[in-house]
Each structure stands twice: as C-alpha cells, then as structure tokens.
C-alpha cells in the first residue's frame, strides 16, 4: 500500500524523471516534487481538458498521454488517470524517453487497478490516503 504522496515520490524516482506533480481534475494539487508547480499545474489542467475535447471530436477512445517537446530536451508529459486525475512528469534532458514512459505506464497501471482506492487520493486527506 502507498499514499498519494508516496505514489508521487515513486514516479519521481523513475530513471529519467526530474520531477512530477499529481492533480485532481478539479484543480486540486495532490502532490508534487517540483518547486515551480504553478506553471505546470495550469498547463496540466488545460492539457487534460483539450485532450479530452479532441478525443470527443475525433472519436478516439482513450488518451494515454500528452507530450510537450522542448528544445532543451526537458520534455513535459501529462498522463490522465481514470478521468479523475492528471499526472505531470518532467523528463531529464539525457534519458531514454521510451523506457521512462513505459515505467510510468506500468506504475499508473498498478494504481489504476483499484478504482475506489485511487479515487480516494483526491479527498481532503489526500496526502495520507492509501492506494495500492
């Protein structure tokens, strides 16, 4: 079992991840390992909404992630989790993005297997709630 904070810490420890933040889709920031989270959290919210709108317009079934490619190679990724959460991940400039993304997917897959537990990450006791 792990709390939401531990989940964020585990994502941050993945090879190639330089920082991350977890947000509920109503804008509540649940956990972070970066200092300037304001810039990223706003982008996270906008990304989640726009990706969902594109999905509905075209008829795609599920958004795995969004990527913002940058010249300094510190790419930013957004992962929608169970329609309720958004995970933002900042990549180290010198890493294998494919391996990093696979590991993040696996971790998200593990916390997504029990919907009720994951949803509990967003309540007022978010930092201490248990997730698988």
């Amino acid at each position: 079992m792990a709390t939401a904070k531990e989940f964020v810490d585990r994502v941050a420890r993945i090879d190639g991840v330089s920082g991350c933040l977890l947000m509920r889709n109503d804008g509540v920031l649940i956990g972070q390992t970066i200092n300037d989270s304001e810039v990223y959290s706003t982008l996270l919210m906008i990304s989640g909404r726009q990706a969902h709108d594109v999905m509905e317009k075209v008829g795609f079934s599920y958004c795995r992630h969004l990527g913002f490619s940058r010249r300094d190679n510190c790419h930013f990724y957004v992962f929608p989790i169970l329609d309720n959460y958004l995970l933002g991940v900042i990549q180290h400039s010198d890493c294998s993005a494919g391996d990093m993304l696979d590991t993040v997917y696996r971790l998200i897959g593990r916390v997504s297997t029990n919907r009720a537990d994951v949803i509990s990450m967003g309540d007022e006791y978010a930092q201490n709630e248990k997730i698988p």
Binding site: K57, L66, S69
Partner: protein, 212 residues
C-alpha cells in the same frame, strides 16, 4: 502547400496532415474522408489553444503530441498563426516526423507563406473563417496578448483568444471597438488591481497604435 502535406503523408505511420490557422480556420487537409472538415477545424482550434498554453509555459516548445489508444496527433506551429498537425499510427517514428517538421518549417518560412494566404483555402467549414484584420491591428493584439500574460500567467493566451472571438462576433474588427475587447478581458481578469495593472501595461501600446 499540397505538396508539403503529401510529403508528410509519405512518412511511414502518418495517416495524413492538416494546416490550420486560428484566424482563417482549416486551410488544407489530406486526411482520409472519414475526418470531416468541420471536425478537423474543431480539432485545429483545440490544438491551437493547447499549443498556445504550452508556449506560454515553455518558450522553447517544439511540438505537442497527443497519444491516444488508436492514434497519435502531433502539432507544430510552422509560423505565427499557422499550425500543422498530423494523425499517425501509434507506431510512427517521432524523430523522423520532427525532422520533417523542421524541414517543412524552414521551407514555409523561406517561401514566405502567410497564415492567411488564400492560395489553398481556407476550406469552407462554417464559422471557422474570421474576418480579415489589418496587420497593424494583429500586431496590437499580439502585444496585448503578451501583456495579458504578465497579469494572468499561462491562461492568458486562451483567455485572449476566447475574448477576441467573442468580440469579433459582436461587431466590426476595428480599433474603435477596442474598449469593448478590453472590457471582456477585464471580466475574465476579475481582480480590480490586476485590471488596473493590465490597463497600465496596454495604454502605451494603444497610444502607439493610435499615433500610427
């Protein structure tokens, strides 16, 4: 432009490509007919907003990709107000596409293709087409958008575009109605101190514009 899009489509894994301008709407597409122009225009609008938001956060943004189960959509701004986006299979080669985008961007800039060039369009897609505005007014809007960013942060690009869209629907696109646009933006800003700050920032730009 057709040739450019065909070159993108020839990349393995790329289903087709579109060029979208926030002002002129969907300009050209070589995606299969299943992708209706109206929907592509709407997708272009969302991608344009997403790209603007990304650029407000990262000034070195290259492109934005949306990875869905069935397909990947990748968008790149070729130049101001001109966005190209492609729909790919999930197995596409992102590095190859990035390189092609780079070449395309260079080609478009060298050829001096403008966002509102009518050579290839815009396609008739309902309300996507906007009335033409003078270059000076576009310049003023561009400055105002940057200044709104100093007040509102990363959301400013979206808010500016949305208020501009509402303003354009309300009447003629002319400097005489600029206060109505500012009022719409003030409502979005909400905070009286920030409204004052925004006014202070844009006043010199408005005066410069009026001086010509």
């Amino acid at each position: 432009m057709n040739q450019i899009l065909d070159e993108l489509k020839s990349i393995p894994g790329v289903v087709g490509a579109c060029v979208y301008s926030p002002r002129a709407g969907l300009k050209i597409s070589n995606l299969p007919g299943i992708f209706k122009p109206e929907r592509l225009a709407a997708v272009g609008k969302h991608l344009s907003k997403l790209y603007s938001a990304g650029r407000m956060s990262f000034n070195d943004l290259i492109d934005v990709s949306l990875h869905y189960d069935e397909s990947v959509v990748v968008a790149r701004e070729l130049q101001k107000n001109l966005l190209v986006f492609v729909v790919c299979d999930p197995s596409f080669n992102h590095n190859l596409l990035t390189m092609s985008f780079n070449l395309l961007q260079e080609e478009v800039q060298n050829a001096g293709i403008e966002a509102d060039d009518t050579e290839d369009g815009p396609l008739a897609v309902g309300s996507a087409a906007a009335p033409a505005k003078s270059d000076d007014l576009l310049g003023l809007f561009s400055e105002m958008k940057v200044l709104l960013g100093k007040v509102l942060g990363p959301m400013a690009g979206l808010i500016f575009d949305e208020t501009l869209e509402v303003w354009e629907k309300q009447g003629r696109t002319e400097i005489g109605r600029i206060e109505a646009l500012i009022e719409l933006q003030n409502r979005e800003i909400g905070d009286p101190d920030k409204i004052k700050h925004y006014r202070k920032l844009i006043d010199p730009e408005l005066k410069n514009y009026q001086k010509g």
